[in-house]
Amino acid sequence: MATATAGNRSWYKRNEIAATPWVFLIPGIFMFSLYVIYPIFQSFWISFHEWDGLGEKTWVGLANYERLLGGDRKFETSFWNNIRWLVLYLLAIPMGLFISLFLNQKVFGIRLYKSMFFFPFVISQVVVGLVFSWFYLPNDGLFDVLVGKIGIDISGGILGNPNTATYGIIAAGLWPQTAYCMILYLTGLNAVDPEQVEAARLDGAKGARMLWYIILPQLKPATFIAFVVTIIGALRSFDFIAVMTNGGPFGSTRVLSFYMFEESLSEFGFRMGYGAAIAVVLFFIMLGFIGYFLKSMYQDEKGAY
């Protein structure tokens, strides 16, 4: 009986529950494939060629990768700078946490204080970079004047000295990133269960122990998000470098994304094959992190049901 009725109905009616999500997903899948998935494979393809972006592509096999991974010093500098960014950028998380703990109170005007701490995240990264590069100027810059008072003289200024330039840029990047983490933690702190805090207080927990055993575990979702955005922010640290040093002095502040841009799209670039090879390497580095995050997110979701 049932099968006979089903036979008369259209295919869509029969499979409505299974098919509808896919119908809604089609536009998204189409755009995602066209603008994300397809270019990824296109980059793979280009990275096996030598191409100036105008003429014919010449197949060179793995030659770009051999050059890149076989002792290209620009690549090595960029890679180690990326590692520096990854490690030091994570400082934004504890700094954001402490600022948010400090701001999580009810006094007159707290909204104003909060918004002032959040301000650097609102303004463009380009503006932050520009302001910091003035701050770091040799001789006239405020930073140079301040450290000069305690007898430290950095030759070339922070951004002109290859030993300090990358750290100078990371410090500039930490300013808005800390604000971002702070906001994440402030929202997280709203969700902290006051009864648990009360109970812990009755048990005699306070200060660091209270923070470590009671507050932080409840902030785990916020920490996770802060971690993800900070790692991704560190890997795409392009704007600060372009604005503050343009990769200099003598290429000491390059990171992979900037090196990729320089090789493929800058004024003296248009070596598309080599740029694509750098992009592929960067892709795999990011894939490692993103894969890890996706996995832990998936497991969290599974645990929730």
Binding site: G55, S155, G156, N246, P249, F250, F268, G269, F270
Partner: protein
């Protein structure tokens, strides 16, 4: 931004419509699409004036002028030449043309250069030639040289140096007076390229410099080392301002304007900025980069800006007529005048502005540049070599002890790039 200039409504901005140059020219009709990178205020007015005047000569012609940002054009030109190409575009002379010539995107203009009117442009023909053919026409060029504070030189009793010994002696006097000899801002690298052009061509000659640019000489060659050794004499004296890697060329100007540095090796475009900064003609003067090796004829940096016709242009005849118009003597005199571009005309029959620096530059390039004319480091060297090279030059200026390492790196790049 788009300017559709209806010829009938056009005003004569520059007032240079020359009936003599085009007495025999039949009136053109149809379309002419120009994309120009002359986006700074003065060049922009010149370009708009050119389009207006050309339109007035040919009332039937519909000229469409698009002016794009000069820096952005350096990468935009690639798209522009391939998709829906205009009829006339701006670019630069010498090796900078190579990618587009190799890809067949610039039209071969050798036939245009056979026009008798082009004989007056003979001096720039070499810079427009690649693979034995000409690929565009120049419209302006400017000299490089040492711009210095005349008042400081007078105060210290110094004269314009002609030889390297005088140069070093001058510099020592300037340093002793508590100033720096030269200001430079090497953050964007190319200013160091200018210094290398002069040090190398004065030490080893124009031919050698071009061989190096063409990848025919090793960077680790003894002659290249001699260039750096001469350069290092100045660096070790402390001749250059400190921390120059942190400044752009404009940010390095105040040192000269405030009298903390006495001179600047620069292109003539810097004069306008120096005058804006408050230096008068009594304080500012110019001398040719001094001789280093007395047996070598001086070569000069004189970058040339150009017009080209894309291979995919639709209105080739109109475009060619426009190029002839731009290079004609009267137009050349007008657009390079002191109140327009303030640079040197490419046509030998054009008159040179009476600005003192343009006059001196014209005199120098006409009579005292027998070695040859260089287009500048980043135009003579292929793009990749130029970028690796200028980075090395900047490093050398800050850490001269790294020279061996730098030269090995450049040599490695040379072997790879020119293969």
């Amino acid at each position: 931004m788009n300017f559709i200039l209806k010829a009938s409504a056009a005003a004569l901005a520059l007032g240079v419509v020359s009936t003599s140059a085009f007495a025999d020219a039949h009136s053109l009709s149809g379309e002419l699409r120009i994309v120009s990178d002359m986006s700074n205020p003065a060049p922009r007015a010149v370009m708009e004036g050119l389009a207006t005047d050309f339109g007035a000569l040919h009332p039937e012609l519909n000229i469409e002028l698009e002016i794009v940002d000069r820096e952005a054009w350096k990468t935009q030109i690639r798209n522009s030449l391939t998709a829906n190409a205009p009829d006339v575009v701006n670019w630069y002379a010498a090796t900078r043309m190579t990618p587009f010539v190799d890809a067949g995107l610039f039209m071969d203009l050798s036939d245009l250069w056979e026009n008798p009117a082009m004989a007056a442009l003979e001096s720039t023909k070499g810079a427009m030639t690649l693979d034995g053919a000409q690929w565009g026409v120049p419209y302006t060029y400017y000299q490089w040289g040492v711009y210095y504070r005349k008042d400081i030189f007078e105060e210290l009793g110094l004269e314009e140096p002609a030889t390297w010994e005088q140069e070093l002696a001058n510099c020592q006097d300037i340093l002793d007076s508590g100033r720096k000899c030269y200001t430079i801002g090497s953050k964007f690298l190319w200013t160091a390229g200018g210094w290398f052009d002069y040090m190398n061509s004065r030490t080893n000659g124009y031919e050698f410099h071009i061989e190096l640019a063409n990848g025919e000489v090793e960077w680790t060659d003894e002659r290249v080392r001699a260039t750096f050794a001469n350069w290092r004499q100045l660096i070790d004296m402390g001749a250059f301002v400190d921390d120059h890697q942190a400044y752009s060329w404009q940010e390095a100007l105040p040192f000269m304007i405030d009298g903390e540095a006495a001179a600047y090796l620069m292109g003539n475009f810097a004069v306008a900025a120096m005058r804006d900064g408050g230096l008068t003609n009594d304080q500012l003067d110019f001398y040719q980069f001094p001789q280093i090796n007395p047996d070598i004829a001086p070569a000069e940096d004189a970058p040339t800006d150009t017009f080209h016709i894309p291979s995919a242009a639709q209105n080739v005849d109109n475009a060619k007529a426009f190029l002839l118009f731009v290079t004609s003597p009267d137009v050349q005199s007008a657009i390079n005048g002191g109140n327009a571009l303030g640079q040197l005309p490419v046509n030998a029959n054009a008159s040179v502005s009476d600005d003192k620096f343009i006059q001196e530059g014209f005199e120098m390039l006409s009579n005292n540049a027998s070695g040859g004319i260089m287009q500048f480091f980043d135009r003579d060297f292929p793009a990749e070599m130029a970028s690796v090279g200028m980075e090395g030059l900047q490093e050398f200026m800050v850490f001269p002890d790294n020279l061996d390492d730098i030269l090995e790196r450049l040599e490695e790049a040379r072997v790879r790039i020119y293969q």
